[in-house]
C-alpha cells in the first residue's frame, strides 16, 4: 500500500489501549502496582503531589481491555492508612466539588486520575492500602487490597 493509505490505519492503531500493555498510547507506562480485572488494567502509585490537606495522593491509571465501554467506579475504592505507630485509620477521597462518580470508559481506551486521600488527623500515613475490587463494574465485586508505601506492607480489611 502507498504510505498515504497506511498512515490513517497507523493513527488508529496507535491511539488505542492494548490489553495487558500497561502503557498509554503515548508510551507512558502505567506507574505502580498492577491489578487486572475482567475489563480493566488498573495500576496505582503514590505520587509526590499534595493538595495541602496532608493526605497521600494516589495516581490511578486504567486501561479498558474490552472492546466495549465499561464503568470505572473510583467511588468504590476504600482506603486505609497505617502510621508509624502501626495504627490504621480510614481515609476519604478529597472531593470538595463532589466530582468523583462512576463514569464509562470507552473500549480499548485509557484514563488517569489522581486522587488525594485525607483523614481527620491530616497526617501522611506510612502505608496506604486501597480496596480496588469494585472499580471494574463489568467484573463481579471482590475485595482486592493493594498497599502502597515505603514498606508496602500488607493491609487487611
Amino acid at each position: 500500500m502507498r504510505p498515504s493509505r497506511v498512515a490513517p490505519l497507523a493513527v488508529l492503531a496507535g491511539c488505542i489501549y492494548y490489553p495487558d500493555s500497561w502503557h498509554a498510547p503515548n508510551g507512558d507506562a502505567f506507574a505502580g502496582k498492577h491489578v487486572a480485572s475482567q475489563c480493566l488494567d488498573l495500576s496505582l502509585a503514590l505520587t509526590d503531589d499534595r493538595d495541602g490537606r496532608g493526605g497521600p495522593a494516589v495516581d490511578f491509571w486504567f486501561g479498558n481491555r474490552c472492546k466495549y465501554s465499561v464503568i470505572v467506579d473510583l467511588t468504590s475504592v476504600r482506603a486505609y492508612g497505617r502510621d508509624t505507630d502501626n495504627e490504621s485509620h480510614e481515609l476519604q477521597p478529597v472531593d470538595p466539588k463532589h466530582e468523583i462518580r462512576p463514569l464509562p470508559l470507552d473500549g480499548l481506551w485509557h484514563g488517569r486520575e489522581e486522587i488525594v486521600y485525607g483523614n481527620a488527623a491530616a497526617e501522611v500515613p506510612a502505608v496506604v492500602c486501597l480496596d480496588v475490587g469494585r472499580v471494574d463494574r463489568a467484573a463481579s465485586p471482590t475485595v482486592h487490597w493493594i498497599c502502597l508505601g515505603a514498606a508496602d506492607e500488607g493491609c487487611g480489611s
Partner: protein
C-alpha cells in the same frame, strides 16, 4: 494535491495529540501559596459523560459547486445576452469554521462561516472575472451518533452566501463588478473519525434542497470539549 496535504496535516496533528504527554492534564497552580491548585474535571480526559462543556470547533476546507445567477461585467445588459454565452457553473472554495454544541446525546446545533474565493468562475459575456470573493454563513441543526469511534451525522444548514465578481486586468480593477446573494438550504451527511476522544478528522457532503445542481464537500479537523461529543 491540496487534499493530500490536508490529510497529511490532519494525521500529523492526530499523531501529535495521540502522543501528547499526560502532564498536559491534571492540576496547575492558581496561587503562589503551596497547595492551591485548579484541576481538570474528573473524567474530562477519558469519559464521554464527564461534566465538561459539550462544545466543539471544526476547521477545514470546503468546496461548493453551484449555479450563479446570470451577470455580465460588460456594459451590455446581461438579461439580453444569448443563453449560449453562459456557463454559470461556479465553484467556491475556502476555509470552513464551525462552532457547534451538543443538546443531549443526539442533537446538536451551531454556526458555520465559510470565507473563501471562487475557484472556478462562470463563463459570461464580456470580460471574464479575474478577481472574486465568496462568503457563506449558515445555522446548523443536526443529529449524530457514534459507532466504533466514527461519528455519523445528518444535518440541515440554512443560511446565505455572497459572491462578488470583478474584472481586474493588469492596471487595477475596472468599475464593473457583479455581486449576488443567495439563500442556502442544504441537507448534509458527515462522518467523523475520533482519533482520540477530543480530536477528530471528518468529511461532509451536502446537497442543496433548493437547487439540484448545488452541492458541497468539506474536509476538516475537530477539537471537542467533551470526549466523543458525549455521543452514543
Amino acid at each position: 494535491m491540496w487534499l493530500v496535504r490536508a490529510v497529511a496535516l490532519a494525521i500529523a496533528a492526530a499523531l501529535a495529540l495521540c502522543a501528547a504527554r499526560a502532564e498536559a492534564r491534571g492540576c496547575h497552580e492558581i496561587s503562589d501559596w503551596v497547595g492551591y491548585h485548579r484541576c481538570t474535571v474528573f473524567g474530562a480526559d477519558w469519559s464521554r459523560e464527564a461534566d465538561t462543556p459539550n462544545l466543539w470547533i471544526e476547521l477545514g476546507y470546503f468546496r461548493h459547486d453551484f449555479i450563479s445567477a446570470p451577470f455580465s461585467l460588460a456594459t451590455t445588459d446581461a438579461s439580453q445576452s444569448a443563453p449560449e454565452h453562459y456557463d454559470l457553473h461556479t465553484t467556491g472554495g475556502g476555509i470552513a469554521w464551525r462552532t457547534l454544541g451538543g443538546i443531549g446525546r443526539v442533537f446538536y446545533t451551531g454556526l458555520e462561516l465559510e470565507p473563501g474565493w471562487i475557484a472556478h468562475a462562470p463563463t459570461v459575456p464580456g470580460p471574464t472575472p479575474t478577481d472574486d470573493e465568496y462568503l457563506a454563513a449558515s445555522l446548523i441543526a443536526g443529529v449524530h451518533g457514534e459507532l466504533l469511534r466514527i461519528g455519523l451525522s445528518a444535518e440541515l444548514a440554512a443560511g446565505g452566501r455572497y459572491e462578488d465578481f470583478d474584472y481586474c486586468p493588469e492596471k487595477g480593477c475596472k468599475d464593473v463588478d457583479a455581486d449576488q446573494t443567495s439563500w442556502m438550504l442544504e441537507a448534509r451527511v458527515r462522518a467523523d473519525l475520533f482519533v482520540v476522544p477530543h480530536f477528530s478528522i471528518g468529511v461532509m457532503y451536502g446537497k442543496s434542497l433548493i437547487d439540484r445542481d448545488d452541492h458541497s464537500v468539506m474536509f476538516y479537523i475537530g477539537l471537542h470539549g467533551r470526549a466523543v461529543d458525549g455521543m452514543y
